[in-house]
Subunit: 234 residues, 6 copies
């Protein structure tokens, strides 16, 4: 691992990241071809936030939050702090004091593969965090790492400057290069979903809306009564 | 796996299922001899619902929600959709659009061994779901499965038409054949619990109420002071 | 395992335990040198409680809550019930009826390595519990265990009479011998955190506050522009 | 749970079960339409066995092996003992002494959702076991359960008398009703695999053998050079 | 955590520990009342060793093996090195070079809650290790810990000087104070097991040997034919 | 996800990858600065192989091995097949028939985040595989994916043409750009390890060899007798 702090990496437009975040993680994930989702392990410390920002990435040693301190200085308005460790760690590398410092700099939220602490205080502050655990376990500041290098979280590469979106469904990374086109795709998807919602509310079936009856038939799915099925099973 | 959709299976009475659900999962589980509980992995996407309905079962391929579309058509007033996959899968096979379609048909809720998404929207809709995960990960519609065949969820067999109950304690399956007698047993249990609650609130001990002092003695449990214990440990 | 109930063990002062609990788990954990935290597996059944009490410990057989009945009798005002099993078990060994009995005796809360049930009722009662799972799975009363012997929960030894603190960040055990000095250390830590909070809110960096720039340099961390980094990676 | 011992349930033919077992779990699983596999959690205590037998099923309370004693008496030549618990348990419910008793009765092996112990001795005996864990943790004989009722293991229903097959790939349950037809299907599959093996050894591609090039094209998979791909990613 | 190295703690007799180890983990665990077993997570890096020694304990920071170096100096003939971390860590804190140094000092083996590496080399050396993982992930030497203080591994307290036994069934800690009496109890247990083994090999049933028929009856277990059971289930 | 097969990506030199593999995963991991290790989840299906090759990468849909067929055609002498899925999946996507085809093409081994099957046959063939599970669960060929695009496995990015090394300690990815310099670094590390091995075998301590006594002192580690420690704890 190169022990570096990369300063001022190119970022996606902060306003675009925010707009994209407002569309919701599930919608954007679908709109962009189902890539970049960090998986179900990352849960919000408190429910109800829906945000988007630009990634500042941090790579820490397990049990050590030294590099988060280095990262804070690299953050600016509209950023989203993204923390991971060189090997799995659930300790509480992040809490209220960091949130206070980040809020001062206009950072919108945090996602970490580790634990977070001060959950009651973070909720009171309204500072949104997504993490793999809640843990009061404290850390040291003894070993170097990196800031603003590409990291892997939840099986996804997050590069500094990429857009990171998060809500109650989890966290999504959108490549910096895909944000602009993603806005358009997400808007189209929202319209498509709105139309489907109305149709379903009025009783249309997905089988009909998406033409799935032919698919089921092609796959050999048969319709049987309960009696017919029981006979086949005997 | 037989790729079938079984139509109109016999169901437990919907009103009975609802009444049973209202008694609460833990109480009915005790009343019925501690069988049918799907285990602690199934958590509500939002807290506070307490429902009961009749199972419509779905067996999907991992990463594929095609058969849920087929299942929606089989649902009717008072049903409870029960989804599993042929091998473990945490993807978000179910979300708001499905919930909208199910609500139109009078379906009371969903339980799935996979993930669900659109959690904020489901909460806003008031559509209750229990799942093993929250995940925005989208799915395809490419591989056949089955609807209304017996499935296994959380180590329990759920057959179409069985009663499924759920609340903040998790999900319980009651065999169709046992619903009627279960109502009676659950009512008796409720009364027993009410009496115990009052006694405990007034200071009675379970040791006395359940005659456990003799049991402890029979098992050889000894009462020691802290000093006596320290001496034995040395 | 010795099958014993130890009566009236020496306890930390109940008022001290309560005061310490009010300082919050993360703060006290730091103040006392980062020991005694039970880890991220122990989660509150409902959010928002922050308490401290004196441990009454219970060791049960898996799937069996007999010894909790024996333990209730040993509880008194200001206690915190601590339950574990001889091998891992997620069943619902504890629920509303026990909570009712404990509340009558002035017990402040419960932590268990097993599951708990009646979550909606516990929330309504305002009786706080921390557990490794929520489970409606019922238990038997067939096998002996122990009350008020040292137990291990979350990798930490909890002895009867130790102080147990809990909030949304999890559960912390403070040795009886360390409670008095812990009060002082926690108060000092609170002041230190308040000062840091104000400084961070005003834009100071941890790098400067904690003198970490020299540390980073000593560890060989280099600052690079994005271009310089890209060149090194090629 | 009904606390019963069901005596002498109808069994699949023991010779058929043995023959089927000899074909290997993966092959039979494919031949029978990919159903009945207990999943990757069940591992052999020692490598190299490949067997098949008829299920005698046991349902125990966690931490309790009483019902295995009742089950031994129900076992006869060609059986395969299948053990599970009412809730998850990794304790060592089974060891060398049971294996000695089972071997005397002609039982071919054991699968359990719990742990097993005496692994070195089982290997020396040549008695094959598949389990979810190895654990020396001992158990009590205090709580009732059932023998020869349908149980669920690894998400699969195993009924008494079903065929159970196991090798280094894990454990498969074949319904009693499907054993005879399964023999034929498995033989056909073996031939198909042998032909494929020879073709692949000689350089044929699955793409050609299974006609998958058209499938890839229909799914829109494009072939690009590394340069073309890099350009698209930019 | 106190950062200390405790020198020359009192130890159980090394010969006794070795003898006890030779009896096997499962047997001694039973003989001593089923306490002290570290659970199924601790697996041998290679199969077939069966040893016993006296604990030298090490508490490391996650991702850091500094204190193992301090511990080596504290080891002497007949010791068993016991390593854990302040929070969970699967990194490879231990490998061949440490094993070489320990072997020179007459250390019999190692157990760690972390990972180990150089598995092929450890097998070739014949140096037995039990661990929660195999991992090549390297570590730093940056943060203090402790040597020869009581530690918790697998839910069990291990104090310096206690006897630690290990074989293919896992790892057992026997309190220093219980080793001498344990020898006697284990010998008695071995004789009991030998007698049972012979009886079972000759066809006796545990039901009869342990008087369990009365137990089953007292617990209300009923014997039914398959037909009777089917009728009850309908 | 772009559904593409990238043909003939630039590869590290096959001979270099093989040489590097022969040095062992743990040694190369240390030599290259402790990066690229896939973690302890990836275990060999059989013990004793130690190899290195050039990555051909495959991204499959869960429960679907279509793209492995496409990947086989892209493989050539000296390659190492690297398989992952878009979301976690333990099914048996790979077995003996694929191994036969790969061996014909000179492929050295496979690593997959899924399961593998035909373990006995793979061992007999001597074809080495590393996987997150062993599973007989079969798959379909219904959904598109990608070949020779960068993938993430065990938290590490693997790009086509990178060197992949594997032995009993797990799997390591070395960036194509770092292979040549890695050879040199690994040779230097081997020499350093050989010297340390000899010193340790002759009784030198790591404390002295690595100058750690000063470190311990700087960190405030104190040496106490057991009596002194007991007194401090009281």
């Amino acid at each position: 691992m190169r022990n570096v702090v990369v300063t001022d990496p190119p970022r996606a437009d902060g306003g675009d990241a925010e707009t994209l975040g407002g569309f919701g993680v599930a919608t954007v994930h679908e709109a962009l071809g189902r890539v970049g989702y960090l998986g179900p392990e990352f849960r919000p410390a408190w429910a109800g936030a829906r945000i988007g920002g630009t990634a500042v990435t941090v790579l820490c040693w397990p049990g050590d939050n030294l590099m988060i301190h280095a990262a804070v200085e690299q953050c600016r308005e509209g950023d989203f702090l993204v923390v991971t460790t060189t090997s799995p760690c659930r300790d509480g590398l992040f809490g209220e004091l960091f949130a206070t410092a980040l809020r001062h700099r206009g950072v919108r939220g945090l996602v970490t593969g580790t634990g977070v602490r001060d959950v009651a205080e973070l909720r009171a502050l309204g500072f949104p965090v997504w993490s793999a655990a809640v843990s009061a376990q404290g850390t040291v500041k003894a070993t170097a790492g990196a800031v603003n290098v590409p990291v892997v979280l939840g099986g996804q590469v997050v590069r500094p400057g990429d857009a990171v979106l998060a809500d109650d469904d989890g966290v999504l990374c959108v490549r910096r290069e895909d944000v602009r086109s993603g806005l358009e795709a997400a808007r189209a998807r929202l319209e498509k979903e709105a139309a489907a919602r109305e149709a379903f509310a009025n009783g249309q079936l997905g089988l009909d809306r998406y033409g799935l009856r032919a698919k089921l038939e092609a796959l050999g799915v048969r319709y049987l009564t309960a009696d017919e099925y029981a006979k086949e099973q005997a």
